[in-house]
Structures are given as C-alpha cells and as structure tokens.
C-alpha cells in the first residue's frame, strides 16, 4: 500500500472535505447492519477514527466513500459481529451453497407488479430489506441505496465481481419474494 505523507493541516483538510461528507450514508449503512442506534453510532465513530489513523494509506483523489465503506464493513465483521450478543448468523458459505441452485437463479415468477408497489406507502420496502440476511442486505444497500458500481462493491466486500453479480441477483429475488408476500398479506394481489 502506497504511503502518503500528509502534514497535520493536509490530514485535517482531507478528513473534513473528503471523509466527513459521507457521514449520513455511513450511518445509514451502520444502522441497517446493526439495527441499533447506539451500535451504529459506535461503528461510524470507530470507522472515522480508523480512517484518520490510516489516512496515509488513502490516495487523495480516489474514492473516499468506497474506502470508508470498506473500513466500516470490516469493523462490523471483525469487531462488532464478534462482540454482539446476537446468535451467530447463518454462515454465508452455507447460504450461498443453499441458494446456488437454478431455482433461485431463474427469474422469479411473481404476481407483483410495478403498480402494486405504489400502494405500499408504509415501511414495507424498508422492512423487506431489513429482513434479508446481512450479506444480501449489504449488496442491495451498496448498489441501490448508495449507487456503488460493481467493481467498487467488489473492493469494499473483498469478493470477485462475479460474486457481486450473483449475490445481487439473489438478493433482488429474495427481496421480491418478500415484497410479494407483503402484498398478498395486505390484499393488494
């Protein structure tokens, strides 16, 4: 990793101008990972402290937002998930193997239509997103909420682009199934 020598003044400039503007996005991400305001706050704070500490490995002019998201995601996995009292989540490898079948890869047939979505005026979409397993939830957040490109997602998550694509595809199918079941429950379809 290339090291950049920054003066204290430069450090503060990078921190204020390139890092701080992403605090809303980072907090939203942290909140959707942890489902807890205090945990989200700690995770964001920890991310910024690490970002400052390792600021010399940040290449100015490159994508600061992706760099910060990567730090946050690593902190979540390494520090937070270990400490958390939540029962251990399903191992991702297992989930991937389970879903890695033609049944999930097929375009799902659903009665859900774009018009039906307009009737969902409450928190259905947000609840559907939160109901997904963390790895599926993460790719949707990065792609659809934050607008990261596939190559950026690959770097943030340390996975190949092909895995980004397949995980995103599965996540979208699972989300549609969830929305479809909400729509049925509410009598829209």
């Amino acid at each position: 990793m290339a090291k950049n020598q920054y003066s204290d003044e430069q450090k503060n400039k990078v921190f204020n101008e390139e890092f701080m503007p992403h605090i809303d996005s980072l907090y939203n991400f942290a909140h959707r990972l942890t489902f807890d305001e205090d945990d989200a706050k700690d995770l964001v704070q920890d991310t910024y402290l690490k970002a400052y500490r390792f600021i010399e490995s940040f290449e100015q002019g490159t994508n600061a937002k992706a760099w910060l998201f990567r730090i946050l995601k690593n902190s979540f996995i390494n520090d937070f998930r270990k400490k958390s009292k939540q029962p251990p989540k399903v191992d991702y490898q297992e989930v991937e193997t389970f879903y890695n079948s033609d049944d999930v890869d097929r375009p799902i047939t659903t009665d859900l239509r774009a018009e039906t979505l307009k009737d969902m005026i409450g928190d259905e979409i947000s609840n559907a997103l939160n109901s997904l397993d963390v790895d599926f939830r993460t790719v949707i957040i990065l792609c659809d909420l934050e607008g990261f490109k596939y190559d950026e997602m690959a770097k943030i998550l340390d996975i190949p682009i092909g895995t980004v694509r397949s995980r995103l595809h599965r996540a979208r199918n699972l989300l549609k199934e969830k929305l479809s079941s909400y729509a049925k429950k509410m009598g829209y379809i």
Binding site: I23, Y52, S101, T110, R172, K176
Partner: protein
C-alpha cells in the same frame, strides 16, 4: 448459466431464448453496467416484448423505491462533534 438454460438453449423456442438472454442482462442494465451494444439490444427487445418490459419495470421501480425510502436514518446530533473531539485528542497522544 444453469442446466435449465442449457436445455432451453438446445430445445427452447427462438423467442424464449431471446427473452432469457435479455433477462440475464437485466441487473447490468438497471445498474448501468451494460455496454452500449447490450443496452441497445435490451431496449429493442423490451419495446416489443411485454413480459420482459414488465419484469424490467418492476425491478426498476423497486430500485427507485429503495433509494427514496431507505435512506432515512440520520446520524444523531453530536456524533460529528464527538468524532472531531476524539480525533483532536488522539492527535495529541
């Protein structure tokens, strides 16, 4: 590509094959990751294929809805100050 696709490529109708190829591109199109040739092919197809158009329209609406409805948790007041304070303290250490 799964076994089903292979079988369909061998035995499926021309139309089904076209739809399947187009639907394989759906995510890339939505996420603006497809190249111009793919995008053109996709556009031409959904102009004349209603089922594919509807699938595209549904996925596009969901993507839009996610962006608009799921970006609402704002950091608590004081978080920015608390980060700045901790950094100025760590700088002195």
């Amino acid at each position: 590509m799964g076994l089903k696709n292979v079988i369909n490529n061998l035995f499926g109708s021309k139309e089904e094959n076209d739809c399947m190829k187009v639907l394989d591109m759906l995510d890339s199109i939505l996420d603006e990751e497809a190249n111009p040739a793919e995008t053109q092919k996709f556009k031409e197809h959904i102009e004349k294929c209603m089922p594919c158009y509807e699938k595209y329209n549904l996925d596009k609406s969901i993507k839009e809805l996610l962006r608009v409805r799921c970006n609402h948790s704002k950091p608590p007041a004081g978080l920015v100050d608390s980060i700045r304070l901790q950094i100025s303290q760590s700088g002195r250490a």
